[in-house]
Every structure is written in C-alpha cells, then in structure tokens.
Symmetry: C2
Subunit: 431 residues, 2 copies
C-alpha cells in the first residue's frame, strides 16, 4: 500500500491520487456483445442453448430450471446454511419493508388535489454472476426488494450449473422463473424475451465486463430494458483516527481487496501511527487468506492518505465518493451529518463491511466509481416508479384558470389555454 | 385522426397500432454533437462563445447573465405575469415540499441498526430550451425541486437572448448562476465545466435532438454528468366513456398536438358516439388555433381506438404507457387502482392536462416513449440520493456473526469472514 501525505500534494496531485483507474472498454467487447445480443434477438432459445454451450461449456437439459430442481436444492443444503440464509432474508426484508412509501396527497389550492402514487415495476430480471463461488447474498439483495415492491413477475438468470444456495434463496424470495443463462446472452434474453425467457422491464445485478456492456447496450435501446445503475469495480474507504483498532481496519481493507484485482482500497487517517500499524497488519493478515493472490494485486494500487484532521479526511472521502465508507473514530455517529457521496456507511468498531454485504439488512448493491454523487444505494424505489395524479373540482379549475391562461399565453400555447377556457365557458353557460 | 376497433385487430396489429414511431437517430447528429462536446472540453469558454455565435447567431457580452440583468427582467414583466408565475411557484413548491423523505431507522436484530438517509445532489444543471416562445414553466418544474431538495449549487443554461419570464423564475427559485448557452455546447459545459461554467453532477431538462444526444453522450462518460431520464416526443392518452364531454376531450387532444409534429395523441373509448363527436370537435376547434399547422401534422399520426369496455381501455393504456393519461369517465377516481405505466394522470372533467403542465403542483417533466414502465414523474427524489448507514453494537455483531460467517464461507470469501471473526476474538479475549 502506498502512503501519501495529503497536505504535501498540489491540488492536481490530490486529484490524480484519487482518480480511479479507467475501466477497460475495448471495441472488441462492444462488438462481441453486440453479436451475442443480435443472435439472441434473431434466434431466441436456439441461440441461447448454443451460446451457453460455447461460453459456459455445458448444454443444460432445459433453459428454465424446473420447480423440482429448485425444491431438491433445499434438501441438499445443510440446516446451518439454511438458517443463515433465512436470517439474512429476514433482516433484509425488515429493512426494505420499512422503505415502503407513504401515499402522498396535497391540496395545493382549494379544489386542486395533487397526489403521488407508487407502483411496482411489472416485470424485473435479476442477474447473478457465476464464478468460483456462488453468490446467494446477491440473490437476496435483488430478490427481496423485488418481492416487497410487489413486482408481478421476477425472473433470475445465472450461468449453469446454478448452485443450491442460489436456488434456495430464489425460492425464499418467491422468484417466478429461474434460467440457466449467463453473460450477455442472459441479459439479451431478459431484455427482448424468447419463447422460454420472459421479457422484462428492468434488469438488475452485477456482472463482468461482458454483462456490463450488454446491460449498457439493451438500456440504450428503448425496445430493450432499463437497468439498475452503471457498474464499476468495488471499493472501500476507511476514515480512522488514533482511537481505531489497526487489526480491524486491516481486516476491512483486505475484505475489500479480495473481491478482485481491480478493487479500490483507501485508508484516510490523521494518525501516522495508525497508518503504520495498518500497513503492518495488512501484511500479516494477508498471509492467512485463501484469496491472497487476488488481494495482493488489489493492494498494489491501494492507498493510505495521511490527512491533517478528521475533518479533512471527511472532505477527501466526500470528494472521492466511495461505494463503502467505514468510519472508525472516537464518535463516528457525530460525523454522519458531514458525510456525503457514499453508497453505504459503516459506523464504529463493530460494523465491518461484511455485515452489510450479507445480513444486517442494508443492500449491498451500491453505486461505485464515483456514481455515489448521483446514484443511490439500491432499494425499494428502484423496483417501483412514481406516478402523479391530479383531480380538480370545477371550483378548483376556476381558481387556477387565470394562472394557467397567463402562462400559456406567455409560452404561445393556444390550445393549452383553450383546454381551460372551453371548460370555464361551459361552467359559465350552465350557471 | 384514424379510428380503429381494437377487437377487430389481431394481436400483432394491436401491437403495431400502439408502436411509437422510431426517433430519428442519424449518425450525423452523433458526430456533430461529439465534435461540439470535444471542442468545449478542449477550448472551454472560447469554444462556447464561438459555438453560440455559430448556432444562436448572437455573441453575448458574457456567458454568465449578471445579477443586474436578472433583476431588470423582473421590472419589465407585467404584474399579471408575475402573479401567475408566483402562484404556480407556490403550488409546485407545496407539492414537492410534501415529497421530503422521512428519515428511516430500523433495528433489524438487537444491536443491529440500519438507516437510510437522503442527501441533495450537490450541483445540478438545468437546461431550458429556446424556440418560438419562452418556457418559464420548465424553469419552475426543474428549479423548484432543486431548491427544495437543497442542492448546493444550481445553474441554468438557455440559448440567448433569455426571456424575462425565465430570468424572473430563475430568481424565484434562487438559481445560483444563469448562462447564455444552448444546445450541445450548454450540456457539454455543464458536464465538464469551463472557467465560467460550473461543472455539475447531474443535468435536467428537455431539448431538441442535439441536446438529447449531448445528454446521452455526457451521461455515458463517468467523467461527465448524470441525466434525468431518456427523452422522447410528448404524448397523451385519453380514456373516455359515454358520459364524457367531446369538446373537452378534443381540446385536450389538441393541446398535446400543438406541442410538435411528432406529438402522440390517442383516444381510447368504448363509445362510438364519443369517437365520432371528438373527431368532429377536433376539426372544429383546430381551425381556431394559432399553431394549427403543427397540430394538424401531429393529428395525422394520431389515433382513436374503440375498445369493448372501459376495462379494456385501461388495459390498452397500461400497455401503451402514456406520458399523460386523462380519464374522463363516470367515476374516474375508482379506476385509479387499475391504472399503471403513466407519467401523470388527470381525473375527470375539470382536470385538463394544461393545469399540470403549468400550475397545479405536479411536475410536467415526465417519462415518455414507454419509459413510464420503469421511470418516474420527476420529483424531489431525482435531486437527491439515498445512502444507507449501519451501526452494530458489540452484542449486535455477536448475534449476527454466525450468519455472516456461514454465508462468507459459502461464497468462499475468507477475508469477509475474518473481518468478523477478528472482532469476535478480540471481544472474547477482553472478557
């Protein structure tokens, strides 16, 4: 880990230090994904089976996973695993249930009633990546809010073979259909539909560069599907003062670093002592990790910043806008009003990032790559849309008419004005 | 207006009838906008002045409008106009004020506290198109929620010369900086910043094909800026039964048609009589409009659909997903629970679309082009982002630890597990 002293840097150097590495874009990824998407649009299920054989090396008996297979998964799991998944489900459901919007109704002027109503997005598709280990936690993070929002149809794609843990959670979340599909072909299938795969309105979930590019492509086509948010490598920033425990900080930095070689890991502290202790603790703990090689690569580009004060550390964090922000200071709760541009914030010694990754209740799908400035932590709102409703009484229209008429005149929109005056005239003639 | 009977159409024909016309994309627009964006990124203010002279035919004294000029605008406006704008401001503020989120705090398990906090987006840019008449209503629809959300810095771009009505409303909404800028150059300036123009986090507002393309380009660049929503031509769908007033319906259809030749106008009714009456009334009222030519072009592609019942009319509307949905039936209020995929809904005889366009309180920036399935009516939420916060006590971590450890094991994430166990071990050794 590289250590820099913030005050010793010029403004340009400061910006450069916090600059995220560019995401490899590659025209070849764009073209490869575009070919996959076209092929799914053209040949439907046939293309899906061929692409799955090509990319995942298996040809599943059927694209859709049968209910029998889903039930069987549950029988193979240990009771301990099911209890853990059930507990996580319960906590996540509790926190997302609390996000249910209150209906809003306002009488802005007498007889002018304006409302905001929230409706679930009808059909949603969840993407769960494959890889070296299954990710049942991501199924929970997407499946629970979809269920609580009340989406009519929820489908899930994951590359085969799909792990028992994923199928078990899919059932917990009452997911309607599960498909043996990964990569760009899964995204294309959900965006456009095939004979077997349901077309969805919006697609959620993480993935590799191909999945990310496929999501970008289908979301740029109005016949395709919406997506949750832009994706980037996972990242953590820790703000710590001299009261923090260096072992805890090191463990938190490493739990981010093991995600992937491109993980971003930053510690900002006014304490040189803590900086030194953490550097040592990271090296010590690293030796014991099964994913040591991955973590080591991530650490190569990671950073310790010596700030002048906790206040300056906060300013640095707000500028960087981390996905995960861990605050290990004397009174972390007091700092919350000052914290901005973070996906999820973890306060104090006993709130490691991994509790939020799995089971505390908050969502682990968060904006990365500086998108925390404008995007939100995934929540119920992302599985819903807000519509407004208005109803005026005849008197309400009478009261509002002069305002509308004057403004329509200013904007030169004659018919807008007439839609009001024709009604007022009819009211007057009825009097 | 073309009239079709829904039941006489095949499923394919039904889909074709409701298909929106493709938006002209044109590689030449993409390239032209890309050149403008690059030039602003490279040459900053110098490029802005040159591009403004080229595209708007004027070279303003300065890019930024002075406070003196803004104050002077107010003096030139009639009292009647100011009163109308003030009233609209008041209603819109009241409705958006009511959207302020309640802070959310949940203890999911003893000692495990999860929160959701909402923060304003720091800096936002509002784009107000030029054209034949000024659009102060759009300034209200963007400026009021930005102000109420508490955005730190709000800037506005509009092509010069900027109308007095726009400057007056900019002042009402306490907008920080107003720039004499239109088109792709305005979007590029706000996305990347120049010596004069503040870089913003997110850009809002309507515009022509060039503005839309510029918004798309800067939102696809993580160094650029976020945007409000994808844009398409404005549209209305009216559901009416035999109790509706054909003159009112015709007036509403025409007020949509006058927006532009590409406006989408649809009436769905189970009453053949109403369909005939509306056809006549549209022709009659059309003759009296100042924007008759524009409305006539829009009407050429507009549609009356004869449905079997109001229930079927609702299904058609939900499938189409209109930006504006007007319901003129016997008991419109009773139908609300059945209505879905609409930007804003207008109930009954006395709620023409133009009240919502201007002054009732709801926002007139709405998803179009079928994006109502996944996007929301613009509101306070679009000027804010949600972050989650969590704080566990030592006991809370003890209770949650087995769940996290089991799940981290299943996902093969060793360091995630160790971030928990290292803390539990320290707690145990302190006992």
């Amino acid at each position: 880990m590289r250590t820099v002293t913030w005050q010793s840097l010029s403004e340009e150097q400061q910006a450069a230090v916090l600059q995220r590495p560019a995401i490899a874009e590659g025209a070849n990824i764009t073209a490869a994904v575009s070919a996959v998407v076209d092929s799914v649009k053209k040949d439907g299920d046939k293309a899906l089976l061929e692409l799955t054989e090509k990319f995942d090396g298996v040809r599943p008996n059927s694209i859709r996973v049968s209910n029998e297979d889903i039930d069987a998964a549950s029988e193979r799991l240990s009771e301990e695993m099911k209890a853990a998944l059930n507990q996580a489900y319960k906590n996540i459901a509790k926190f997302h249930q609390a996000q249910k919007p209150v209906p809003l109704k306002v009488e802005t002027q007498p007889g002018v009633v304006c409302e905001q109503v929230t409706r679930p997005i009808n059909t949603v598709g969840l993407y769960i990546p494959g890889g070296s280990a299954p990710l049942p936690s991501t199924v929970l993070m997407l499946g629970v809010p979809a269920q609580i929002a009340g989406c009519n149809k929820v489908v899930l794609c994951s590359p085969p073979p799909i792990a028992d843990e994923i199928l078990y959670v899919a059932k917990l979340c009452n997911i309607d259909e599960v498909y043996n599909l990964g990569g760009g072909q899964a995204i294309a299938a959900m965006a456009y539909g095939t004979d077997t795969v349901a077309k969805v309105d919006k697609i959620f979930g993480p993935g590799n560069a191909y999945v990310t590019e496929a999501k970008r492509q289908v979301s740029n086509d109005f016949r395709g599907a919406g997506i949750d948010m832009p994706a980037g490598p996972s990242e953590v920033l820790v703000i710590a003062d001299e009261t923090a425990d260096a072992d805890f900080i090191a463990a938190d930095l490493l739990s981010q670093a093991e995600h992937g070689p491109d993980s971003q890991v930053v510690l900002v502290t006014p304490s040189v002592l803590i900086a030194d202790q953490v550097t040592d603790a990271v090296q010590r703990q690293l030796q014991q990790l099964s994913r040591k090689d991955i973590a080591q690569q991530a650490l190569a580009s990671s950073l310790i910043i010596i700030a002048e004060s906790v206040t300056q550390a906060i300013a640095i964090s707000n500028y960087y806008g981390p996905e995960h922000l861990i605050v290990q200071t004397k009174n972390p709760r007091e700092l919350v009003p000052l914290l901005d541009n973070a996906g999820s914030i973890f306060l104090g010694d006993w709130s490691p990032e991994s509790v939020g990754d799995y089971a505390s209740g908050t969502n682990h799908v968060l904006p990365t790559y500086g998108y925390t400035r404008t995007y939100s932590s995934l929540g119920l709102a992302d599985f819903s849309k807000r519509m407004t409703v208005q109803e005026l009484s005849a008197d309400g229209l009478r009261i509002l008419a002069p305002t509308v008429v004057t403004m329509a005149d200013a904007e030169g929109l004659d018919a807008h004005k007439r839609a009001v005056t024709i009604r007022i005239e009819k009211l007057q003639s009825a009097e």
